[in-house]
Symmetry: C2
Subunit: 307 residues, 2 copies
Amino acid sequence: MTSARLAGVLAPVVTPLRRDFSPDPERYVHHCKWLLANGCAGLAVFGTNSEANSLSVDERMMLLETLVQDGVPASKLMPGTGMCALTDSVRLTAHAVKLGCAGVLMLPPFYYKDVPDEGLYRNFAEVIERVGDQRLQLYLYHIPQVSQVAITFSLIERLLKKYPGTVAGLKDSSGDWNNTSAVLDAFAKSGFDVFPGSEVFLLAGLRAGGKGCITATGNINPAAIHRVYENWRTPGADALQAGITATRCVVQKYPMISALKAIIGHWGHDPDWTTVRPPLIELTAEQQQALIAELTSRGFDMPALAR
Amino acid sequence: MTSARLAGVLAPVVTPLRRDFSPDPERYVHHCKWLLANGCAGLAVFGTNSEANSLSVDERMMLLETLVQDGVPASKLMPGTGMCALTDSVRLTAHAVKLGCAGVLMLPPFYYKDVPDEGLYRNFAEVIERVGDQRLQLYLYHIPQVSQVAITFSLIERLLKKYPGTVAGLKDSSGDWNNTSAVLDAFAKSGFDVFPGSEVFLLAGLRAGGKGCITATGNINPAAIHRVYENWRTPGADALQAGITATRCVVQKYPMISALKAIIGHWGHDPDWTTVRPPLIELTAEQQQALIAELTSRGFDMPALAR
């Protein structure tokens, strides 16, 4: 992995699927390049919003290789590599490091609940030891409302102490600003890069020492979100933040992944984009119309998305 | 898969691991054969208690092939094949059918929470359609406190209606007898085989039309549990049930998987059996001693387990 750490707006890239639910590499590369050209500093591919856990390990590896081969810089990539099975996490993480990715974003193993921190520590430590590569930059992924397994302060502390050059930061998708703020207070000064999991907390996060955000709606609104990142020290920052928060609030009235795909399908004139893999379902026609209408009425656009 | 459906006591077989956390096929085959020789009617390999979700797809396939090659009858096997990724579920299920397994026990995709029944229906329907084999006997796995994704009555109803010869039953690990009882009332007469996920409900389940149980402690106490199954219509059934419930209550004071492995390690004179894969951790020495002491004081034994 590169020595330059990612900062700014990262999108957990939604994964386009063909009608048979297979990943569509062509649409995927196109969307990734559009994101990088429109404000994203990096791509957190294979996140929650990527339906990553609905993809097999082989499907993820194929997609990651395709991106790099097709000209998406590995130095911009932070793939999700945390799986329930230690052996899968090691395989995906080693693969990402080998391709030169900037970092990896690791969920804890999420099947077993109420597991002790000691077990989670062993999981992450085993991955780091087995990958055994100084280039590895590991970001912990805290999304307790989905994974049901939290990344605790004591776990962060212990991992940072043992692997200071490797444990690089955390994405906090808890939606709980008190937690994000406390993580920033506790660890940001140790060179631990904290990314709130929503642009709603972008400005507050930057003011408290955060590095940007990794946000679902980065898939559709990257330029405006990036504008907050660029201008966060200026007097107009709060107004810019209010604008992106308002757009977020429209989108998150709906199931997020299906809504993002509907938006990309609409503004990209590519209705097949709406396909999601079970157990998710696409928006109803009524939901889609209402979502597009509300965004349109707000002047929302996705420039030059058409293929 | 065979036409004879499994009934009786099934163990969700714990998976022995070497010290490097790799699966140990030799100990695995030995334990499976011991279970079948000591009261188990079938083996629900790759269940929650098998640490199945801590194993990769390839690790599971290797273990299943080893069992069949080494003489464990496929007609006794009900492997867990429900994964987060549809493609993985299809691959594991097709593999199990090809090997001649009696059935498969399928978790719903468990990463995304609050998913609609329509999405879960599509998941199971896609697996059935893609496997496309009349021999498939699919058992749904309801364990909401772990998976956080429930198998609802309307989902069962819809799947049974569409795939009556394939959707064979349900393991109810909710621990909620009201749910098990209601599922039995609603579906047992349609040839839908219900297995409570604990022997605590074995007798009550049999009296209400259940087919047996699939239970963690089947790994260590199969003969006594089988005795309840064999004698459930006799006057002594309640006393037998009280005995197995009491043993269960001792074991479940501890984290179940680690406790089962400690018990097998102790009575099998094979301390390496205690290894669990992260994020789980083994019992402390104190816990292990207390567990073994309490079981011993109750006259508990695992005959002829020594290798």
